[in-house]
Structure formats: C-alpha cells, structure tokens
C-alpha cells in the first residue's frame, strides 16, 4: 500500500477576481521510504497541492475535493484534531525560505521543544535532549551552545538544517519539502540535499520534494511528477523521465535549462507565459505555448495516459507515439534545442 495516495485532488480559491483552480485533478502516490519530486514553474500548483494535503490552506477562501489517503485514512475528510495530531508527527513539512520560517522571537530550542511537546507526553528535559540529538544529527556544530540561540543568529543553511531537525524530530513517515533549497547557495544546497538523503536512509521517511529545479529532482527523486497549469502533465520514475521525457512541456523544461554537461548556442525556449488559473485555456492547457499543437489540442484535454508503454510512465499529450520517439531521439543526440 502506498504511504500517500492522492486521488483527483481539486483545490479552488475564491478571490476578488473569481475562482482560481489552483489544483485541478491531481493524483499521485508516494511509496514508503521513497522520494517523489514534484516539478513545475511558479503557479503550477505544486505548493498548493502539498498545503492542501497538510490542511494548511486558508479555510475561508479555499475549497477542496478529492482524496489524500495517508496509510489508508483520508486526510481531507479527517476531523481537524486528528489531522493536527498527524501534522508534525507522522507527516511533517519544511518550507522554502529558512529565513522566515522560524519564529524570530523564540530560541530554536524552544521551537524544537514545542514540536516535541505537541506530540509526545515527555518531560522538558527529555524534550530538550531529543532536540539536542536531532540538532546534532542535522549537523549543527556546537549544538549544546547553539540550541539557545535565536534564528537570526544562524545562517540560511543552518536555519534550513534547523527546519529539517524540527520536521524530523518526531520521526515522521512522510516529509514534505517545499522548495527547501531554492533560497540557498549552490554549495549549501548540495549540503542540504546530502543531509536529506542521509537522514532519509536513517529515519526511513518518505519525501515529497517540491522544486522547480530539474537538477535537484535528478539528484534525489525516485519518482517525478511534472505539473503545469494546476494539473499533472507527466508522471514517471526519475530514470524514465530524464531518459524518455514524453510531452512537449517537459521537453521545453529540459531544453530551456542551460546545462553544465551540454553545449548549445541557443536554449530551447518555451514561448509565451504560464496560463492563468483564473481562466485556463481550453483543451490541453499547454497548447497555446506548444509548437506541436494540433487542432484537437485546443478542444480536447488529453488524458493522463501511459506514454511510452511503461505503466509507471504517464503523460498528458495528444501526440502520437512515433512523433514522441523522434523528438526523444533528438533530445538524446543533443540537438534538443532545435525543437523550437
């Protein structure tokens, strides 16, 4: 059984301009101990998906449907108290900006101890020693001394370590990481990714890693979900996705990435801008920017279907198999940039 099974998730926000369908029929699964990468550009709905699963959307403006089964129990249908008991305990979350995600007026020790006390009935000293242990585990030097420091006394990388410590302190089965390294320098990013990898092995947690960086996904993900315009457009194992990306948006993403291991004169560029979720395009959401667009693409939304014959590899595209294979070949031969 999957640890997390998200089925046909919809999240809609009421705004002054109208209804924004921020998540529109998203489904995926996360296996225990594995890492799922969710990639997409800003506004593709990847963060909202996770906040919805965690029940952290603003209740006044968001409405949700679908299911998010965590160990078989639907998180979306669960009473608030039960969900809260899971949050920070069996499912925890870390966020993009380590500079603002810690409360500036409490010591990090206090914030860690709070996380322990919310889910464990233990003494103060025990909670503190747990906090100290986890700080050491995430590689905070001089943890004994630094536990009583305030967040502003830490660098960005160190704060993200503290955030990870706080997320892991109750040994969660699932860790949702929302762009945990985006705000960090490349060397620090490498440290943090390495740390997450190490800790995953040690604690056996599954990870959902949200990112816009395909490189990061390639580094740590077992499975990948590509999101575009509030929908999943491609789902595959990491190997499959990078070896045989099977729809034009993914091609575009890969091609527009300047790469240290490829030389191209011009980058492939996806023309235009991401779709408005207030008023999404008809048919395939990507069709206005797609160089392969056909008339069917404007009228009919392609289903998320097996792309290359593999059961684990699904994508949303009307293109026929042959065309896709030709394009994948081009990609492999390094002429990928010419798809535009």
């Amino acid at each position: 059984m999957a640890l997390l099974d998200v089925r046909d998730l919809h999240t809609t926000f009421r705004t002054d301009d109208g209804l924004v369908k921020a998540v529109d029929g998203v489904s995926f699964t996360v296996e225990p101990g594995k890492t799922l990468g969710i990639v997409g550009e800003s506004g593709s709905g990847k963060s909202v998906t996770c906040l919805t699963i965690m029940g952290l959307n603003d209740r006044r403006s968001a409405s949700t449907s679908g299911q998010a089964l965590f160990k078989g129990a639907d998180l979306l249908a669960m009473p608030k108290n039960e969900l809260r008991a899971l949050r920070g305990n069996e499912i925890s979350m870390i966020f993009q900006d380590p500079m603002t995600s810690l409360n500036p007026v409490h010591t990090i020790g206090r914030q860690l101890v709070e996380a322990v006390h919310l889910h464990q009935d233990v003494s103060r000293s025990s909670a503190r020693s747990q906090s100290l242990d986890v700080l050491k585990a995430v590689g905070i030097p001089n943890a004994e001394r630094r536990i009583d420091d305030y967040p502003h006394q830490f660098s960005g990388g160190m704060r993200q370590r503290v955030m990870i410590a706080m997320a892991l302190i109750n040994h969660p089965d699932l860790l949702i990481a929302d762009e945990p390294t985006t705000a960090l320098d490349v060397t620090t990013q490498a440290q943090i990714l390495k740390l997450m990898d190490t800790l995953q092995k040690e604690y056996g947690s599954a990870i959902v890693m949200i990112t816009h960086d395909l490189g990061v996904v390639a580094e740590i993900a077992d499975d990948v979900v590509v999101m575009y315009g509030a929908q999943v457009v491609e789902r595959a194992t990491a190997e499959e996705l990078f070896a045989r990306p099977s729809m034009p948006y993914t091609w575009g993403l890969l091609g527009s990435l300047p790469r240290i291991d490829h030389d191209v004169e011009r980058l492939a560029q996806i023309p235009g801008t991401p779709p408005s979720l207030l008023n999404p395009p008809s048919g395939c959401r990507f069709h206005p920017r797609c160089t392969y667009a056909m008339s069917i693409c404007q009228s009919e939304q392609p289903p998320l279907a097996s792309a290359t014959g593999s059961e684990t590899h699904l994508s949303r595209c009307h293109l026929d198999q042959a065309t896709r294979l030709t394009e994948i070949k081009k990609l492999e031969s390094g002429h990928f940039a010419e798809v535009t």
């Binding site: 952290l56 809260r84 007026v105 996380a115 305030y150």
Partner: protein, 327 residues
C-alpha cells in the same frame, strides 16, 4: 546597551535645548510683557522697571535662557527652584509639577491600559474574521474614535453619564493618596472619577490601535513561521498565543511607548474638560496667561518623560525582540 542609553540621553539633551530655546524665542517674540503681571496694570515706567530688575526680566532673552539652563543644572532638574516660578502666581514650578504629574500620569497610564483592554481583543477578533460583522463594527468604532474630538466626546459622556444618569461625577478629580480636606479620595473614588476621562482619552488611541493590531495580526498570520507552527501540528490557540500575538504585538509595544509620551499632549484637552488638575490643563493656562516658566516647566517635564519612556521602550523592545541589538 549602556552606550546606547547614553547616546539616547545625549541626543535628548540636544533636543531638549532646541525645544526650550525655540520656546524661549517664541515667547520673546510675542509682545506680551510679563512685567505687567508683577508691577500691576496701572504701573508707571518706574514701577515696571523696579519689577523687571527684581526678577531679572530686563535682561536680553539669551541671558534669561542661560539662567534658565544653569538653574536646571545648579538646582538639579527636580530641585524645588530648578524650574523657577510662575509669572502669574509666583509658585515654584517644581512643586506644581510634583502635584500635577501624578494626575496626568493616572490619566495617561490608566488611559493606556483602557485603550489596550479595548483594542487588543477587538483588533484580534477583527483580524481573525475580516469582513465579519465584528470587523465592520470595529471599523465604525475606529471611524468614530478617530474623527471625534476628545472635547466633544467628553461633553457627551459628561452630559449623559454624569448629568443625566448620575453614574459618574461631573468633571472633578479624586486623589489616590492624601486628598485635600473635605474631598473624596482613595483608590475607589480615584478610579470612579477617572473612568470617564480614561474612556475619553482612550477612545482615539483605542481606535488607532484596533487598526494597528488588526493589520499587525493579519500580517503576522501570513508569516511563514506561523505556517511552520501549524505544520508542526500546533492547535490554533497555541499558534495564536505563542506565534502570532507575541510577534504581532512587538511593534505595538514601540507604538505604545511613543503614544504614552505623546498622550501627554492629548491629555491637554481631556484634563481641561474634566477639570483634572494635571499638567495639560496647567500648560493650557500658562499659554493663555503667557506664563513662560510654567510652559517651560511642562515642556521640560514632558521632554524628559518622552525621553524616559522612549528609552524604556527601546530597551524593552530589545529585551523582547532578540533580533534587536542596541549598539
């Protein structure tokens, strides 16, 4: 910290000299001669010259200003003679400040407590339920509070609660300690007499604070660390108490310090209407009668109060907000 406090005090001294000097200059520019107060209104030039010489009012203003400053130093700011004496009734200013400052302090501090008692819950509730009935009601309250002049409010309060309903006394003061013979006094009487003034004084600030607290709480609710706290599984009341309120009220503390100091200015109206024998009422009278030493005395006292409150607030702020370092 010490260095910071010293720097603040030095700056305050500079400001103090500027403020008092400007007051002196203005006073000497106004062609109202205090000597007449001493000599009498039918005084001949000889009578006037005698009085002027006796009180040193025949000297140029910078000499008088210098004397004012040196008196402060030689007698110590709180010494009986430090602030000189009133032109009108010749009483030592320092003893006037001593008897009047507690009245103003009870008004301002009591008012501050009152406005926080009003503003904190209303502000929080309207932040939690934006556009709800309570929020809209609060907005109306804010509009009234901001647009109503304290004098107008006081007149209405006194007419309704004092004159018509006999619930509160019509404008008088009762001392907390040692009331004058035959007058009401003691904590209960004091609070009873001060209740309407507190309300009047507090309403403007309460209105402002409802807005500020609402904005601050809404802003804080959207902070990442609040989301972090929820993600940790903290119940709403823990999130509110430990992560939203403390952070949201931090800037309010600074404002509070400043407004309490500024409140000395606002006390002017309230004290006059409610016949409270405080500094504000005194300052108004001194200005009407061109009683420079009293004006100066109140300015000196108020400046000192503003300084002290500001330093206290800054230090307090540094204590409660670990990010602030006073260098």
């Amino acid at each position: 910290m010490t260095r910071y406090v010293i720097r603040r005090i030095l700056w305050a001294l500079v400001l103090f000299v500027v403020v008092t000097f400007v007051s002196y200059v203005i006073f000497f520019l106004i062609p109202a001669d205090p000597v007449k107060l001493f000599a009498g209104r039918q005084a001949t030039p000889e009578d006037m010259a005698r009085a002027a010489a006796f009180y040193g009012l025949d000297q140029p203003f910078y000499v008088q200003y210098w004397k004012f400053l040196s008196r402060l130093v030689t007698h110590g700011v709180i010494g009986e003679k430090a602030l000189g004496f009133s032109f009108v009734n010749r009483q030592w200013i320092a003893s006037g400040v001593q008897s009047r400052a507690p009245v103003t302090a009870s008004l301002v501090l009591g008012g501050a407590v009152m406005w926080m008692i009003l503003a904190v819950p209303i502000g929080i509730v309207s932040a939690l339920r934006p556009r709800s009935l309570i929020d809209r009601g609060a907005t109306v309250f804010v509009l009234i509070g901001i647009s109503a002049h304290p004098v107008f409010l006081a007149l209405i309060f006194l007419y309704i609660f004092g004159y018509k309903l006999h619930m509160f006394p019509i404008g008088s003061y009762a001392d907390f300690f040692n009331p004058p013979p035959g007058q009401a006094g003691g904590p209960l009487q004091w609070a009873w007499h001060m209740f309407l003034p507190w309300c009047t004084f507090a309403i403007l600030f309460a209105a402002l604070y409802v807005r500020m607290i609402r904005a601050s709480v809404i802003e804080t609710m959207n902070e990442d660390y609040v989301r972090t706290a929820r993600a940790k599984g903290a119940p709403e009341w823990v999130v509110m108490r430990s992560h939203i309120l403390r952070n949201a009220l931090l800037p309010i503390v600074t404002m509070l310090g400043m407004d309490i100091a500024l409140g000395l200015g606002g006390a002017v109206f309230t004290e006059s209407v409610y016949s409270l024998p405080g500094l504000g009422q005194w300052a108004v009278q001194s200005l009407e009668t061109f009683d420079l030493p009293v004006t100066m005395g109140v300015v000196v006292f108020a400046t000192t109060a503003v300084l002290v409150v500001n330093v206290i607030v800054d230090v307090l702020y540094a204590v409660i907000d670990p990010r602030i370092k006073l260098a």
